[in-house]
Subunit: 339 residues, 3 copies
C-alpha cells in the first residue's frame, strides 16, 4: 500500500474491522475527523491513518495517502471475489441461437434467450434472465432473479444485484378519450433500450427502464444502490452515486460524479450538473448547476436549506411573536391618536 | 391518423423521435406549448401538430386532433409487440391440474401451479410464477420473475413487469403481550386476494398485497409504474396513473382517473376522489375531493402549496424582519413612555 | 378465546369481516374507539368487543381482553396456513453438498446451493435461491423468487415474501482518483452477512444488505413491510415494525419495538431508541431517544411537528401580516419624529 509504519513491525494482523468493532489483533482505518472519538477509543492493534497522523502508544499506525482506500484494497486481498466453475450447468436454459463464452458460468435455472451474448467470465446466477439479443459483457455478474430485457446492453465488470430489472417498459401513455372500449391510456411503445457502461453496479430490486426511443444510459463506473428508479431516456453520467430509494424521472440527465442521497426525487426533463450533490429526501424540480449542493423540497442551496430548516423550528414561536407585536403596535397607534 | 398534411407529400419517413433527438428523415410530435422552443429548433423532417398549427418552412406538418396520441399510434404500427410461439416449452413447470390455453406461451423456467388457469395468447416469461388457483386472463404478459400468488385474479391484456409481486400477504399484526414465547406481533391471516382488472399495467418490482379479507382491486385500464406499494384492501379505480415509488396504505380508495406523482404517500383508510391529482413526494393524510389538485406534506391545495413553498424561501428573512420590528416597537414604546 | 357472550348463543357465524364490510351472519371486531361510527352502523351479526362494552340490540357481542387479537386468532382457526407435501420436487436444484431436511419442501425451480442447510418443514417456492453455506431455519417460508445470498442466516418461522433480497452487497466504495483506468469508486468488499432471527417477516421486494464486516441483524419477531431498504451493518432490535418503503442507512441501530411508518428515511450511524415511533415520510437525521415519537424532515417531537405543520399553513398569511406591521411601525416612527 506504500504506507509508512509507526509501531510494531512484527505485529500479526488477524482481521479487519471498523474502529468501534475492532478487537486486539485487528486492523482498522481512520480517515475522517468526524470519527475522532472512535479513533481515540479503538481497541484495534493497528490503524491505517493519513500522512499527517501523530504516533500513538499501544496502537501501530500505518500512514497512507488515503486510509479508506487502503483499507478497501487490503480487504480485497483478504476477501477475494469468489470464482465459479465455467460452463453452462445442467438445468440452465441457453437458446441454441444464443452465444455464451466458454469461460462464462450459467448456473442452473438461469436463462439466455435467442440471439443474446454473454462474455468471458461472466456469471449468471439461478433465475437470471438475459433477453433476446441482449448483451452481457465480460466479467459481469448477474445475481439471482435479475432481469435484462431484450436488446439491452450491459458492459464489462458490471454487477447487477438480485432482482434488479434492466429494460422494463418506460411509463408512457397517451390519453385517448375515444378508445374502442371507451377512454383509455394508450400505450406508447417503449422501443428503445438500456445501455449500462463498464464498471457499473446496480442494487437489488432497482429498476432501470428502457427508452421510449433511443437509449437510457448509465455511465461508466456509476454505482446505484437498492430500490432506485431510473425512468425511460434518463442519462446518468460516469462515476455518479445514487443512494437507495432515489428516483429519477423521464429524460432527466445527471452529469459526472453526481451524488443523490437516499430517497431523493428528480423530476423529468431537467439536468443535474457535474459533481452536484443532492441531500436525502430532497425533491429536485429544476436544473442544478455543476458543483451545487442542494437539499429540501423543492430543492434549494444546502446552506439556505439548513437556515430554513432551523427557521422552521422557530415558526410557532414566530407566530406568537407577530401576534404580540400587532397588539403592541395597536396600542401605540391608539395612544398616538389619543395623544 | 386522419391528419391533414402541410408540406411534402412525397417525404419518406425513416423513423420516429423526440423533437430534440430527431434527425432529418424522422417524424416527431408537438402537442404541448411547453416545448415550443424545442419545436422551433427541431431537425425533424415532419412533425405531428395540433389542428391550429401554422405552416412552417422546411418542415412538413401533419395536423391531427391529438399529436401525442397520433405519435403513439404510428409508433405502435412501426413497433408491433413481439409475438411468441405458443405452447408450454421444455423446462416450464405446469402442474397437471393447471389449465393453460393451447395458444398461451409458457417459457422455460416459468411455473403454473395447481388449479391455476392461463388464458389464450398469454405469455409467461422465465421465472414467472402463477400460484394455486390463480387466473391470468387472455393476452396478458408476465415478464421474468413475476409472482402472482394463490387465488389472485389477473384480467385480460394485463402487463406485469419483471419482479412485480401480486398477492403477497398484507402487513397486518395484532400485538399480543402474552404470546407463548413472550410478547409478539401475532400474524393476522391475509386470506383475501388481489383482483387486477383488464388492461392494467404494473411496473417492475411493484408490490400489490392481497386483502386481509375480501379483495385488493386495481381497476380497469389503470397504469402503475415501478416500485409502487399497494397495501392490503386498497381499491384503485379505473384509468388511474400511479407513478414510481408511490405508496398507498391499507384500505384506502383511489377514484377514477386519479394521478399520484412519484414518491407520493397516501395514509390508510382515506379516499382520493375521482380525477384528483397529487404532486410528487406529497403525503396525503386525509380525504381528497373529486378533481382536487394537492401537494405537500401534509397535502394541501396545490396553489396554497406553491404559495407556502415560496414563503418558505423567505422564512429566514422573515425571522430577521420580525426581530427588527420588535426593536423598533420597543423603541417607540420607550419614547411614548418617556414622552 | 375466553370471551363472555352477550347475545344469541345459538348464532351460526358464516365468516369474518371488517365492521364496514360485514354482512349478516358474519363476525367482526371493535377495539379502537376511532371506529365508533362504523361499529354503530355495522351489519355484522356478532362483534368482538372490549371487556367494558355495553350490550347492544340485534348484535351479539363477545367481550374479550383484546378484540383485535381475538379476531386474528379466530381468523387463524378459519384460515390455517396451507401445508405442502414434503420433499425435493423434480425440477428443483439441490446441490449434492447441500443439506435439506426430509420434512422440508423444495419446489420445482427453487435452488439450494453448495453447503446450504434448509430446516424441517421449511418451504421454498419456485425461483427461491439459498446461496452457498446459507441457512434457512425450520418452518420458514421463502416465497417465489426470494434470494438469500451466501453465508446468510435465516432463523425459524421466518417468512420471506416474494422477490425480497437478503444479503446483497452493501453500498460501499472508496473513491480512488488514480485507478488503473482513471478515477473510480473502488469497491469495498462486503464480506459480512445478514442474520435474521426467529419469527421475522420480510416484505416483497424488500432488500437487506449484508454487512461490510460482521453482521446486519434483524431481531426476533420484527416485521418488515414491502420495498424497505436495510443497509449494511444495520441492527434492528426485536419486535419492531418497519412499514413499506422505509429506508435505514448504514450502521444505524433501531431498538426494541421501534415503529417506522411508511417512507421514513433514517440516516446512517444513529440510534433510534426502544419503543420510539417515527411518523410517515419523516427524515431522521439524529438519535431518537427511547419512547420518543417524532415526525417531519428533519424529524422533531411529534407534537412540535403538528404545531409546525399547522403554522406552515399560516405562513403566507404571516408574511402579509408582517409587511403590514412594518408599514404601521414606519408610520408611527414618522409621526413620532414629526411630533
Amino acid at each position: 500500500m506504500g504506507g509508512e509504519l509507526l509501531g510494531d513491525a512484527g505485529l500479526v494482523i488477524t482481521g479487519l474491522n471498523g474502529l468501534v468493532e475492532a478487537v486486539p489483533g485487528e486492523l482498522s482505518f481512520y480517515g475522517n475527523p468526524r470519527y475522532r472519538r472512535q479513533y481515540d477509543a479503538t481497541r484495534a492493534s493497528a490503524v491505517l491513518v493519513g500522512r499527517e497522523a501523530e504516533p500513538r502508544e499501544h496502537v501501530s499506525l500505518v500512514r497512507v495517502a488515503n486510509p479508506h482506500l487502503a483499507f478497501a484494497q487490503i480487504s480485497q486481498l483478504l476477501h477475494p471475489r469468489p470464482t465459479y466453475e465455467a460452463g453452462v450447468r445442467p438445468g440452465a436454459h441457453v437458446h441454441p441461437e444464443a452465444s455464451v463464452h466458454p469461460d462464462a458460468t450459467v448456473m442452473t435455472g438461469a436463462t439466455v434467450d435467442k440471439g443474446a451474448r454473454v462474455g468471458a467470465r461472466a456469471v449468471l446466477f439461478p433465475g437470471a434472465y438475459v433477453g433476446e439479443a441482449a448483451v452481457v459483457g465480460e466479467d459481469s455478474v448477474l445475481y439471482p432473479n435479475v432481469t435484462v430485457r431484450e436488446h439491452c446492453l450491459v458492459g464489462a465488470r458490471v454487477i447487477l444485484h438480485a432482482s434488479c430489472v434492466v429494460g422494463a417498459d418506460g411509463f408512457g401513455f397517451a390519453f385517448n378519450p375515444e378508445g374502442a372500449q371507451g377512454p383509455e391510456h394508450y400505450k406508447i411503445p417503449q422501443a428503445g433500450i438500456v445501455r449500462i457502461e463498464d464498471d457499473v453496479e446496480v442494487g437489488a430490486c432497482t429498476t432501470i427502464d428502457r427508452a421510449t426511443l433511443g437509449e437510457t444510459v448509465i455511465g461508466r463506473g456509476t454505482k446505484i444502490d437498492n430500490l432506485v428508479q431510473i425512468a425511460h431516456n434518463v442519462k446518468v453520467g460516469p462515476l455518479s452515486l445514487l443512494c437507495a430509494q432515489a428516483g429519477v424521472s423521464g429524460s432527466s440527465e445527471l452529469g459526472t460524479g453526481v451524488v443523490l442521497a437516499g430517497q431523493v426525487g428528480v423530476v423529468g426533463h431537467i439536468r443535474v450538473g457535474d459533481m452536484a450533490k443532492v441531500g436525502a429526501q430532497s425533491g429536485v424540480a429544476q436544473d442544478v448547476e455543476d458543483g451545487q449542493v442542494v437539499s429540501g423540497t423543492p430543492a434549494m442551496p444546502h446552506r439556505e436549506w439548513l437556515r430554513t430548516s432551523a427557521a422552521l423550528g422557530q415558526l410557532t414561536e414566530l407566530l406568537k411573536e407577530v401576534r404580540t407585536l400587532r397588539r403592541r403596535v395597536e396600542m401605540l397607534e391608539k395612544k398616538e391618536k389619543g395623544g
